[in-house]
């Protein structure tokens, strides 16, 4: 039973993936058996146990930044987030009067910074005293690193930069709960809307695992023992809106986010699973084609679900399981005024 009459609906979606930037086109590519998994291009991974990844091709980020000067303060995952958020806002046809408001929030799931190992290493150099002497370490860091390094690597920068570029002045948060972070961010956004904290929330996941430090971490942790575990980068961001606000401006409604307690979550050990009308769907083709972009993985599944990758649905659930047993489930229903989820039903069948 609903506690509030306020309801959260999804009115726009923007993605950046290694196979393309349009969810319907990506779905088509996956159906044709295409895959973005290839030797790592962004750094030399030839000495790693895993030397392949699914990387987003290089693209011009400048058009997505309202303030291009801020690009120097961003790392790869923040740029993915800003790009996907701009696309989501365009897809939702969100007017600037609604976007640039203290009633519009941002919450995005991501992983920690890669701390830019090359810059850090150059700053510290070969002075081993830095390992034992905090003062020497501080002098090396302060003297040898660009002072903006810290601002690039602060954990909340992903959501911060999205809000700066979009001028969204409402609540702002970054979720960093591992692989479930993107899904939790979307749930958090729905809660903000339902509880009246915000009328619009830009929410989703943006992440990359294609970083030297993560490759080293995952190799040491034995994650690469699974031959199908391919790291990736991607972002999927959504415009989540209060239903009456969306109706009032004649927005498209892709689906309604319903409260998690409405359905029992399907807890399984897999990384991301999708249920359509309570039936489990084999979504493994998505990971084979796009790799696993950590906190962005479940949001990417959601974007493809909304694009009709699994056919039409009346209700759906996406579940993510993280390391250390973290779980999150997002439940969706086709809203009574949904325009897209139904229309795609006859156009696309399962991606499998």
């Amino acid at each position: 039973m609903r506690v509030t009459e306020r309801r959260a609906v999804i009115t726009g979606c923007g993605i950046v993936t290694p196979l393309g930037d349009d969810a319907v086109a990506v779905t088509g590519a996956i159906r044709r058996g295409e895959s973005a998994v290839a030797p790592v291009r962004s750094f030399d991974a030839s000495g790693c146990l895993r030397s392949k990844a699914a990387e987003v091709p290089q693209y011009e980020v400048r058009p997505y930044f309202r303030v291009p000067k801020a690009i120097k303060l961003t790392d790869h995952r923040t740029r993915l987030a800003v790009t996907a958020a701009a696309r989501a806002v365009a897809d939702a046809a969100l007017p600037s009067s609604l976007l640039s408001s203290d009633r519009t929030g941002v919450v995005i799931g991501t992983s920690g910074s890669d701390v830019q190992i090359p810059e850090l290493t150059r700053a510290i150099g070969g002075d081993l005293r830095a390992a034992d002497d905090t003062r020497v370490f501080g002098e090396r860091i302060l003297g040898g690193l660009n002072p903006l390094w810290l601002l690039v690597n602060l954990p909340n920068m992903v959501s911060a930069h999205v809000s700066i570029q979009l001028e969204a002045r409402g609540p702002n948060s970054t979720v960093m709960t591992d692989w479930v972070a993107g899904l939790q961010a979307i749930s958090e956004a729905a809660a903000w809307v339902e509880e009246g904290e915000a009328d619009v929330v830009i929410a989703g996941g943006a992440d990359t695992g294609v970083l030297p430090l993560l490759f080293a971490d995952y190799e040491q942790a034995g994650m690469f023992d699974d031959p199908e575990f391919i790291l990736a980068d991607a972002a999927a961001i959504f415009v989540i809106e209060e239903r009456d606000v969306a109706r009032g401006r004649g927005a498209q409604v892709l689906a309604e986010i319903v409260k998690p307690e409405v359905r029992e979550p399907r807890i399984v050990g897999e990384r991301v699973t999708v249920d359509i009308d309570r039936n489990p769907i084999d979504s493994s083709a998505i990971e084979r084609a796009l790799g696993f972009p950590l906190a962005a993985a479940a949001p990417v599944h959601l974007a493809l679900l909304l694009a009709g990758a699994f056919g039409g649905f009346e209700e759906a659930a996406i579940h993510a399981t993280g390391l250390n047993g973290l779980n999150a489930t997002l439940h969706l229903e086709v809203a009574s005024d949904s325009t897209r989820a139904r229309s795609r039903e006859s156009q696309l069948s399962s991606v499998i």
Binding site: P68, K69, I71, K72, L73, N146, P147, L148
Partner: protein, 133 residues
């Protein structure tokens, strides 16, 4: 290097660093450009520019000295008035008309131009041993 770079060389290198920090083409930067008013610099950019200059000229730069050295950091209005009167003489090409009639301590960063930075660097490099440049 056997001699210190000349002023024009310092200006070109400074303009390149400022342009990169502020994401603007070097051709948009002029000797009398106010870093704040004309080039859009914010406090965070001053950190970036200082670091860039330190790396470029192999100098340890005191931010306070660089940014406040010419315009001063006094909050005493009589001192500020005297300093501004001095600057009006030495910076005739500066766009004084966009400054308020009564310039206060809060307005002082707006008076920092490319020439302010270059003057500082010329002085520092003259003091520094040439071999370190």
């Amino acid at each position: 290097m056997t001699s210190n770079p000349n002023r024009e060389d310092i200006y070109q290198r400074t303009a390149r660093i400022v342009g990169a920090a502020l994401d603007i083409p070097v051709t948009s930067i002029h000797p009398h450009s106010s870093l704040v008013d004309d080039l859009g610099a914010e406090s965070i950019d001053f950190l970036d520019i200082t670091f860039g200059l330190e790396s470029e000229f192999t100098l340890k730069i005191s931010s306070e000295e660089l940014w406040a050295g010419r315009v001063g950091k006094s909050t005493d209005q009589a001192t500020i008035d005297a300093k501004v009167a001095e600057l009006r003489q030495s910076m005739p090409d500066f766009a004084w008309d966009r400054m308020p009639a009564a310039i206060t301590a809060r307005d002082l960063p707006r008076l920092i131009t490319l020439n302010t930075v270059v003057d500082y660097l010329v002085r520092r490099l003259e003091e520094a041993p040439a071999a370190t440049v």
